[in-house]
């Protein structure tokens, strides 16, 4: 899965997944909730992602589905990053 998202994203995301061991790969489709991302930490992750990638998630992206899996989250974030850089 390497190369699907930048290392910076994965490194930050891993800090919010207490049930994911350091040597486990970050699977694309496993539920982030199953890796320990709860609602409160989702809010912390959101703020950290916005600061790190210099984007702002629109209101309609602030829903549980965005934070359901690594793929869903990166899909929204990368779209925002493209808009910013474009």
């Amino acid at each position: 899965m390497a190369g699907e998202w930048p290392e910076e994203f994965e490194k930050l995301l891993r800090t919010y997944l207490p049930l994911l061991r350091d040597d486990d790969p970050l699977a694309r489709t496993i539920g982030l909730a199953d890796l320990g991302l709860d609602s409160m930490s989702t809010i912390g992750l959101l703020v950290d992602l916005e600061e790190s990638f210099d984007v702002q998630f629109p209101d309609d992206a602030l829903v549980p589905e965005t934070f359901a899996t690594t793929t869903s989250l990166w899909s929204v974030l990368s779209g925002l990053s493209d808009q910013t850089s474009g």
Binding site: A33, G36, D38, S39, M40, S41, T42, I43, G44, L46, V47, E50, Q56, D59, L62, V63, P64
Partner: protein
Amino acid sequence: MDDTGAAACWKLLELASIHDVFPVDLDVDSILPEVDWSFLMAAAMRHRLLPRVADFLLRSELMSFPPREYRRALVLALHDNRYRCAEATKEADRVVRALADRGVTVACTKGVGFQVSLYGGLGGRYFDDIDLMIHPEDKDQVAETVLGLGFQAKLDHDFQTDTLVELPRQDVAMFRFYPDHLPHFVRPLTGYGFPYHTVDVCFNITWYGAGWQIPMSDVLADLAHVDVPGHDETITLPVLTAPYDFIFTATHLFREAWYERVIARKNIRLGLFADMWRQWHRLTPADVQDLATLVDKHAIAPPIAWVCHHVDQIFGSELVAGLGLDAYCDEAWLHSAGAMDGSCLKWTGSMRDRVRSADPPPLSPAAEPRFAADARAARR
């Protein structure tokens, strides 16, 4: 200060919170001369009870007891609160009328109604926001209407600069992830003695994701009304019926006292338990029967029992017995709390200890008690 002085302070605060005047069966001279007024003023401020204490002492003709400067501060706090209540009532009326014109069903909850329905209409209950309850399907229309009345959304007041600033991203996200309230609306004011009106719109009588839900079509099917005396005129506002008002007061208190996220931020206030006590004592026998029926019909006994037990513990009332909720009062549940990470926590001591403490209670990990899964269903 010795223990006697502290005990007298808390006794006075508890009496003032639930009684309009000093009870005739108690001896004033056994309590008032013992009060350390510096301690009492600090505790009353922490619990937003300054206007309540002032109203209680004035109505009981006991205002001669506090030292002169504290007496002045108490009376000013009461008058300030009365003014705020009166202005907010006018503003609530403006908002309610605008919503009604668009066919939106709305009830005023908490302070703007309680000041009359529970506290006698003399400004004794601390007033903060204009709280409204609506159907969830009306939230877009409500937001549009309130914004059209000059309010602004997603702003917070920075008291240092006395300006409105953007709501922190964490708070904006909270409203999105836990959709049971709209982000607060504020309307800046000039020359009013307070900087802005706040409107807080709720569209769930429990909370988002809880295992306990009541259809808002039931909650708002029938509304009561209160006549609120204002500066120039009496204003009639729609409010919840007494049984649903009781339920909402209980679920609100539960949220404030059960979740670690809230506990860590602010200590629970005595006045919220007093609201419950006063709610109970205004119910007619028919209201009590209706309330018990609603609790059973909507299967929301656990949080109601949790709150009623702690009200009984503080004030010596019998709400649990009155509603037949003893079966929901096992110790593990009554001393549980919901952790931010979705696990369960416990606290020790009594709720009275918690209320009296200036600090949040120490919480420690605990096995999940009965009912807790329904409380934090959406906290994962």
